[in-house]
Amino acid sequence: MDFLVSSFAEALRLIGSFSPDVVDAVRTSLSVAVGATVFAALFGVPVGLAVGLSDSRWKGFAVTVLNTLMAVPTVVVGLFVYGFLSRQGPLGALGLLFTPTAIVIGGTLLASPIVANYTLASVRGADPRILPTALTLGSGRFRAVATLVGEIRFGMFAAVIAGFGRVVAEVGVAMMLGGNIRGYTRTMTTAIALETSKGEFSFGMALGIVLMTVALIVNLFLSLLQRR
C-alpha cells in the first residue's frame, strides 16, 4: 500500500513540477488527438449525414459497415496503416512512419467511424418535422440540410468529442505508427506503457492522472451536450 501512496505522491509532484517528459507526452497526445479529430470530423460528419438522410436501399448495409468499423481494434488499424507507410509500402517514400503525422492518419481512421455513427444517430433522432418545415418555407435541399445540422448541432459536437476521446486514449495506433520516440511521438498512453514496464511507476501514474483528467473533462462535456 505504501508503494501506491508514495507513487501517487511522486506522480503529483511530477505533474506539479511540469516535468519536461510529462509535458512533452501531454503536448504530443493532445496535438495528434486534435489533428485526428479535425480530419475525422471533416470526413465522419458528412458521411453520417449522407447515410442518415439517404433513402437508398443500401442504407442498412452502410450502417452495418459503419458499426463494424467502429469496433475495429486499434492494433488492426495500426497494422493496416503501417502496411501503407512502411518502407516497402505504397506510401513508404513519404517517410511518414514513426512521425506524429502517422499517428494522426491512424487516429483519423479510428475516430471517423465514431464521428459518423454519432452523427448518424443524431440525424435519426432529429425531429422528423425539421426538413419538411424548412422545405415548405422555401429552402432548397442544401439549406434545409444546413438547418437540420443547426438544429442537431449539439449531437454533432458530441460526435466530434467522442472521436477525440477515442483517439486520445488509444495506445495501439500511437505505438505502432509513432514508434514511441521520446519528445517526438511519445504520447501519454505509449509513455505509460513504456515507463511502467521499466519500473517507473510514478511517471506512468502521473501521465495516467493527466489522461484520466482529460477523459473526465471530455466526458463531462459530452454528457452536458447530450442533455441539451
Binding site: 425531429d127 418535422r129 419538411p132 418545415t133 415548405t136 418555407l137 422555401g138 443547426g150
Partner: protein
C-alpha cells in the same frame, strides 16, 4: 376564379398501402377549401402532394396550368408559392423572429423589408410583442400562432393547413379562424383539413371529402 391545381390519376403508395388514389381533382384559386375524411383517409398525404413535398407515385399534377416535373428545379420554385402548416408545427431553436424571418431569408429578402413583413405577420396573429421571445418557451397556442405568422410573412399563393384549430385554446382558435377566413379575399387559396362537424361554409368555400384515399364527394357552395 381560375384553376390553380389540377390532379389527374394521382396515386401515392407506401409499399402495398395506397394512401391516395385520385382520378381527378380541380382546385380554384382564391378560395377556401375544407378537406375532410376519417383518420387514414389520405388527407395529410394529399396536403404533402399539394405542398410539393411528397411526389406522387403516379399521375400528373398541374399548377397554374403548368405540369409539375418532380425531378426539376421547378418543384422548388413552386414550393415557394405554397406553404404547409402542420397540426403540430416545428419551431426552430432561437427567437420568434428567427422563425418568422426564416422563409424570407430563404427567398433572399432581408433588411427593412424582412423586418416589416415579420412585424406585420406577428401583429396579424396578435404576437407583436413576442418577436424576441425564445420560440421553445411558448405555449402550444402561441407556437401555433408563430407558425401561422411564419407562413403569412411569405404571402403564399396557397396556404395548406393540417388541422390548424385542433388542440389549441379557444381564444387562439377564434383568432386563427378569423385570419384564415380573410385570406381568400386577399388572393390566398386556403386548403385546410378539419374534423370540425361545423366547418366554414357559405360563399367561396369548397369542400373536398376523402374516403380511403379517393375523392368521395367534391362539393362546392356557389355564391348565393
Amino acid at each position: 376564379m381560375t384553376e390553380l391545381y389540377r390532379l389527374r390519376s394521382v396515386t401515392k403508395r407506401y409499399g402495398s398501402n395506397v394512401a391516395v388514389d385520385i382520378d381527378a381533382l380541380t382546385i380554384d384559386s382564391g378560395r377556401l377549401y375544407t378537406l375532410t375524411g376519417a383518420n387514414g383517409a389520405g388527407k395529410s398525404t394529399l396536403l404533402g402532394i399539394l405542398a410539393f413535398l411528397t411526389p406522387p407515385t403516379s399521375g400528373e399534377i398541374f399548377y397554374a396550368g403548368e405540369r409539375i416535373d418532380w425531378k426539376s428545379d421547378m418543384v422548388r420554385m413552386r414550393r415557394r408559392k405554397v406553404t404547409l402548416l402542420h397540426q403540430s408545427p416545428y419551431l426552430f431553436g432561437g427567437t420568434v423572429f428567427r422563425n418568422v424571418v426564416y422563409g424570407l431569408k430563404a427567398r433572399g429578402i432581408a433588411g427593412d423589408a424582412a423586418l416589416r413583413s415579420v412585424d406585420r405577420a406577428l401583429e396579424t396573429v396578435g404576437l407583436d410583442r413576442f418577436r424576441d421571445r425564445d420560440a421553445r418557451e411558448l405555449s402550444g397556442g402561441e407556437a401555433q400562432r408563430v407558425a401561422m405568422a411564419r407562413a403569412l410573412a411569405l404571402g403564399p399563393e396557397v396556404l395548406l393547413l393540417d388541422e390548424p384549430l385542433a388542440n389549441i385554446d379557444r381564444e387562439t382558435a377564434v383568432l386563427l379562424e378569423t385570419v384564415i377566413s380573410l385570406l381568400p379575399s386577399r388572393g390566398t387559396t386556403v386548403i385546410m383539413t378539419t374534423h370540425d362537424p361545423d366547418p366554414p361554409a357559405g360563399r367561396n368555400v369548397g369542400s373536398i371529402v376523402l374516403e380511403g384515399g379517393k375523392v368521395a364527394a367534391p362539393r362546392v357552395s356557389l355564391p348565393a
